[in-house]
């Protein structure tokens, strides 16, 4: 059984590793710096479907397919799948995966869903006899715009703090293989709210949650940022990253040089006009599943802290004058297994 460290963290006692991963991105993601690392780049924004929501369903389906293909598995061989997205009632997950017949748990953590899913999948594998399970999340620029903002063709200027919702999905299959990347420790995030009300500045709303989760993890495990090769946040963007550095510094942690943000890796901000960076469930999921997991598997990255960040708000609550609560869940991935652990 996973050993509870402090109040927020669980150290896995059994071997849990990420055995395969799949990623899919849209045209813009393909043109970004990570374009070559994706399993699939789909130039058709509608993915051959009639609506944007159906297009996003396809993203999830194809990400699961890609990951299963690489794991030499039929999707039906997964013991469970944890899936989530940004759309109301998580429809991209439910409709996207309905044909597979995999035991399904829908989860919602906004853009933190990928790490939330990996935390839950790791604990499920640790605490049960399940052999392997999938985690998948997606986002689509067009379906997110119409739900959270304005119609696509509406002529408006986006403020410099705004972020571009990624059209992408990522799927990771976790299992009991003796092969890196290993999941060593997980930290469940707490909801943090510093009173940000601007929906066009999600990075600022989520940075306190990332800082809190990191501090909880370091306290619970007795480690420091320097003990890790990479601290990877989900989609803080430029504003959120700058604020995270300040918040972490106040707690005595220096992240500069050790930290990267998926929201700042996915696009070329100068060339691709995405303002403060990328966002969306698909941002952190696709960056992790395209360019980070392979580098841990090869040993190029040794110890990685992956914490996807989410803004847990709705347009209704914002219109009622509420602020934006943030959350971040952390997964410690490693190229080496703990010496005492076994399958």
């Amino acid at each position: 059984m996973a050993k509870k460290l402090g109040r927020h963290t669980y150290r896995l006692e059994k071997t849990v590793s990420v055995s395969a991963w799949g990623s899919i991105g849209g045209k813009k993601e393909g043109e970004g710096p990570l374009g070559g690392a994706f399993d699939e780049i789909e130039p058709d924004a509608r993915l051959g479907q009639k609506t944007w929501e159906q297009a996003e369903c396809q993203l999830q389906l194809r990400a699961v397919d890609a990951a299963c293909r690489k794991a030499h598995l039929m999707p039906q061989e997964l013991d469970f799948i944890l899936a989530g997205d940004l759309l109301n009632q998580c429809v991209s997950s439910a409709y996207g995966l309905r044909a597979f017949g995999i035991p399904f748990l829908g989860i919602y953590g906004a853009c933190s869903t990928m790490s939330e899913g990996m935390v839950l999948a790791s604990l499920l594998l640790e605490g049960t006899d399940a052999v392997r399970g999938g985690v998948v999340t997606s986002s689509h620029f067009c379906s997110a715009e119409r739900q959270f903002r304005t119609p696509l063709e509406y002529g408006a200027q986006r403020p410099p703090t705004s972020q571009w919702t990624a059209t992408a999905a990522g799927c990771a299959i976790l299992g009991r293989q003796e092969r890196p990347p290993y999941v060593r420790t997980v930290t469940i995030g707490t909801i943090e709210d510093k009173g940000i009300t601007d929906a066009a500045n999600m990075g600022a709303a989520m940075a306190p949650a990332a800082a809190a989760t990191l501090a909880h993890f370091f306290e619970d495990t007795g480690t420091r940022p320097e003990d890790y090769d990479l601290i990877l946040t989900g989609d803080l963007g430029q504003v959120g990253r700058d604020l995270l550095y300040q918040l972490a510094a106040e707690q005595g942690y220096r992240l500069e040089g050790l930290h990267q943000d998926c929201g700042l890796l996915l696009y070329d901000r100068q060339r691709q006009d995405v303002h403060a960076g990328a966002s969306g469930c698909g941002c952190s999921a696709s960056v992790l599943c395209s360019s980070i997991l392979p580098r841990i598997a090869s040993g190029a990255l040794g110890q990685v802290l992956f914490l996807a960040t989410g803004a847990l708000m709705s347009t209704t609550m914002l219109q009622q004058g509420e602020s934006i609560p943030g959350i971040a869940h952390l997964v410690h991935l490693s190229s080496r297994n703990h010496p005492e652990r076994r399958c």
Partner: protein
């Protein structure tokens, strides 16, 4: 860090809107649309239309042009640079009606297109009419 302190840090970390660029561009593009309107009016007058009908022709032409550009997927690309220049004239209203009509067509022509068409322009219509009633009342009282 208190919420107030965090708000200050956020303000420092957040790049401000590029007003030095946006305001002149809005002035130039908005001015260009109004100049186009004036050219249409002069052309209408030259074609023999009355003053009132010529003004109507200006509105109709600009609404139709903005709606067409929205449909062709060009309006938002222009508006990205023009900002308030394309928002304030009647072209902005046209775009605010056409864009949701296109967007929500996928939910059907009644509850999708028909209902959501007013999602942005609706408040403008409601408060525009409300304001005109108030001003009308003031005018009527002033003339008593």
């Amino acid at each position: 860090m208190t919420d107030q302190e965090y708000a200050k840090r956020n303000q420092l970390a957040s790049a401000p809107t590029k007003s030095w660029k946006n305001i002149p561009l809005a002035f130039l593009s908005g001015g260009a649309i109004c100049t186009a309107g004036e050219l249409i009016r002069q052309a209408a007058l030259a074609a023999g239309l009355e003053e009132k009908t010529a003004a109507l022709a200006v509105s109709l032409s600009l609404i139709a042009a903005a709606s067409l550009l929205t449909g062709l997927g060009l309006y938002d690309k222009i508006a990205k640079h023009a900002g308030a220049g394309t928002l304030v004239p009647i072209t902005g209203f046209s775009n605010a009606m056409t864009s949701p009509a296109m967007e929500f067509k996928s939910e059907g022509i009644i509850l999708g297109l028909g209902a959501k068409m007013f999602v942005i322009a609706g408040p403008v219509i409601v408060y525009g009419i409300a304001a005109s009633v108030v001003y009308g009342l003031i005018l009527w009282l002033a003339r008593l």
